[in-house]
């Protein structure tokens, strides 16, 4: 793993609006989720990394260099913007073709690259149709195609799942995971935690222009060990199971949901899991499911924000 994006003491403001505030982060190779609510500074960070903005303070480097007006860096980057960014009277194929030409490809190479990129995102059949006739999902896919057509080392996907139907989302998750598995570095921004969780466990959490947390989901969770974890255990005899935790000092709260679920709030989830495993061996406690809500990024995010 090596650092590909480095932001040091980066602040960015627009007039009186502070979009990023003294940001320090290093993003390594692989898939990274850029997570935060609307207005957290995700898009601003991406635009700084793309060289579209100059930092008001601090510095951003990509592949060790400043990205702004730097062809050597930009040649290795692909970008799929959040907004619909299309030219009028243009087909999907032409869109990808011309953007490939701007990358520096010859007409012949750009034709091949555009066809293959359209094919890669499943747009071959519709690539010769005007973009105006595309659905939201198709537009999203053609934007991804233009970002992929130059085979970048680093790909920025700004809210790539926005507007996609469930099947489209699954395909997008699958594509991003495949890119990651093949050694591409991908920065995926989203304000929906579930989406990021589906493609990576490596996240940067932004909140009001500042880094709230950065690392693996579990590493982030270790930062908040002071907060109790909630574990749901579905079993045949939750009240019998509960007796195993009554004496446990790390358990803060026990609750029952219906006739078959025990909810445990604990400060020591590992010890709790061990105790559940031991109890599950008893014949009268048939455990059917163990679920820790705190494995979800949403829970981590909620903890951190609150």
């Amino acid at each position: 793993m090596s650092t590909i994006i480095s932001a040091k003491n980066v602040s960015k403001w627009f007039g009186e609006v502070v979009a990023l505030n003294d940001l320090n982060v290093e993003i390594e190779t692989g898939v990274t989720g850029l997570l935060g609510a609307n207005g957290a500074g995700k898009s601003t960070f991406i635009k700084l990394a793309l060289g579209l903005y100059r930092p008001s303070r601090g510095s951003v480097t990509v592949f060790g260099e400043s990205p702004r007006n730097n062809a050597a860096v930009l040649r290795r980057i692909g970008y799929c913007p959040e907004l619909d960014t299309f030219y009028d009277n243009m087909t999907g194929y032409e869109y990808v073709y011309w953007l490939s030409r701007y990358w520096g490809m010859s007409a012949k190479h750009a034709q091949v690259a555009a066809e293959q990129a359209c094919d890669r995102v499943g747009m071959t059949e519709r690539m010769d149709d005007p973009i105006e006739e595309y659905s939201k999902g198709m537009r999203q896919r053609i934007k991804i195609a233009q970002a992929l057509s130059t085979d970048p080392d680093l790909l920025f996907l700004d809210e790539p799942m926005a507007g996609l139907d469930p099947q489209g989302r699954e395909e997008m998750f699958s594509l991003i995971r495949e890119l990651g598995d093949n050694g591409y570095s991908v920065v995926v921004s989203s304000h929906i935690l579930y989406e990021v969780e589906r493609v990576t466990d490596n996240v940067v959490l932004l909140f009001q222009g500042s880094i709230m947390a950065h690392g693996k989901v579990r590493e982030i969770r270790s930062l908040i060990d002071a907060h109790p974890h909630t574990i749901h255990v579905d079993c045949s005899a939750p009240r019998i199971l509960a007796t195993h935790f009554v004496q446990d000092e790390s358990v803060l709260h026990l609750d029952f949901e219906g006739e078959s679920r025990l909810v445990i709030r604990t400060k020591d989830p590992n010890a709790c899991y061990a105790r559940i495993n031991a109890a599950a061996l008893e014949p009268d406690v048939e455990v059917t499911r163990i679920h820790c809500a705190d494995d979800s990024l949403q829970a981590v995010f909620d903890y951190l924000v609150k």
């Binding site: 090596s2 650092t3 590909i4 627009f14 007039g15 609006v17 979009a19 609307n38 207005g39 995700k42 898009s43 601003t44 635009k47 793309l50 060289g51 579209l52 903005y53 100059r54 480097t61 592949f63 060790g64 260099e65 007006n69 062809a71 050597a72 860096v73 930009l74 040649r75 970008y79 913007p81 619909d84 960014t85 299309f86 030219y87 009028d88 009277n89 243009m90 011309w98 953007l99 490939s100 030409r101 701007y102 990358w103 520096g104 490809m105 010859s106 190479h109 690259a113 293959q116 990129a117 890669r120 233009q146 057509s149 085979d151 080392d153 890119l179 093949n182 050694g183 591409y184 570095s185």
Partner: protein, 297 residues
């Protein structure tokens, strides 16, 4: 600074590795051609090109109408009619209009359609992008306006003292050259306005049709701050007179009116074009175009 080699990737490409041209010049030419071709495609597909062409070809009708309807001795001078049409209509009115139609959108269109982040994240020299697009504008506008001027010339031959002979064609060539320089200077101004302002057409209208016209009526040297001053100076008036007295009178008149002469005017127009194109490239390099949409996102 980190070592570039530390960012070597062990990547398995899911698409064929693209081929970039080797050599800085080759890359520049590729990007220039891409910018030119893309811009040309976009311009030719716009409906406004039809509107622009219709307006631009209107002057062709006027000599024919004069030949058909007028009995005036003055009106029968084809050279006069053509000079007025080419100078007033083509060069000083339609050239700025085409610049506003097309050149303001060279960068302005990308800003408006939000495609500018895509452009600015391409590994291309910003100058290649700007020059390529400017070349496409120049090609389209010259084709339209040049053809219109040629047809106006042809229509004017229906009147007296103008024909497709050597003299006539020389005159036509001079006007066509002046038109090209007018398109260049006005286009560069419109391009620059598109790069620096949000309302290039309105500001362009005010400058090209408001300020320029006003400046010609203001005594003194204010009109030096217009493009029209120099395009007008390019036009062949009575300067070619062989009469020594007339020539001296004209020279005296030129001094009094701060006239600069055709060659100096041409150099000035080229200079204006170069400065404004260079300025546009600088603006594109330093301006943060996505700023307007960034706050709060």
């Amino acid at each position: 600074m980190m070592d570039q080699s530390s960012h070597a990737f062990t990547k398995t490409s899911i698409l064929p590795k693209p081929v970039a041209p080797s050599g800085t010049l080759a890359q520049y030419i590729h990007c220039l051609r891409a910018s030119f071709g893309h811009s040309l495609t976009l311009m030719l597909r716009r409906q406004r090109i039809i509107f622009a062409a219709v307006i631009t070809f209107l002057p062709v009708v006027i000599p024919l109408a004069i030949a058909f309807f007028s009995d005036s001795q003055f009106a029968r001078s084809g050279m006069d009619v053509f000079s007025k049409m080419a100078g007033e209509a083509h060069i000083n009115t339609l050239a700025p209009l085409l610049a506003l139609f097309f050149a303001t959108m060279i960068i302005g269109e990308d800003v408006e359609s939000r495609t500018i982040p895509l452009m600015l994240t391409r590994p291309m020299p910003r100058s290649a992008w700007v020059f390529g697009r400017f070349g496409a504008y120049l090609m389209v506008s010259t084709a339209i306006l040049g053809t219109s001027m040629l047809l106006t010339f042809g229509a004017s031959t229906a009147l007296s003292d103008l024909a497709f002979d050597r003299d006539g064609l020389e005159k036509l060539f001079t006007y066509e050259l002046a038109m090209l320089l007018a398109l260049m200077a006005n286009g560069a101004l419109a391009l620059f306005l598109g790069a620096v302002t949000k309302r290039p057409i309105i500001i362009g209208l005010i400058f090209l049709y408001g300020w320029q016209r006003l400046a010609t009526f203001v005594p003194g040297v204010v009109d030096f701050l217009t493009i029209m001053k120099y395009t007008t100076e390019m036009l062949p008036v009575a300067l070619e007179s062989t009469n020594q007295v007339v020539r001296e009178e004209i020279l005296e008149f030129k001094k009094q009116q701060y006239l600069v002469g055709a060659s100096k005017a041409a150099i000035t127009l080229l200079g204006i074009t170069a400065v404004l194109l260079g300025g546009s490239v600088v603006v594109v390099r330093i301006r943060e175009y996505a700023t307007d949409r960034a706050a709060g996102t």
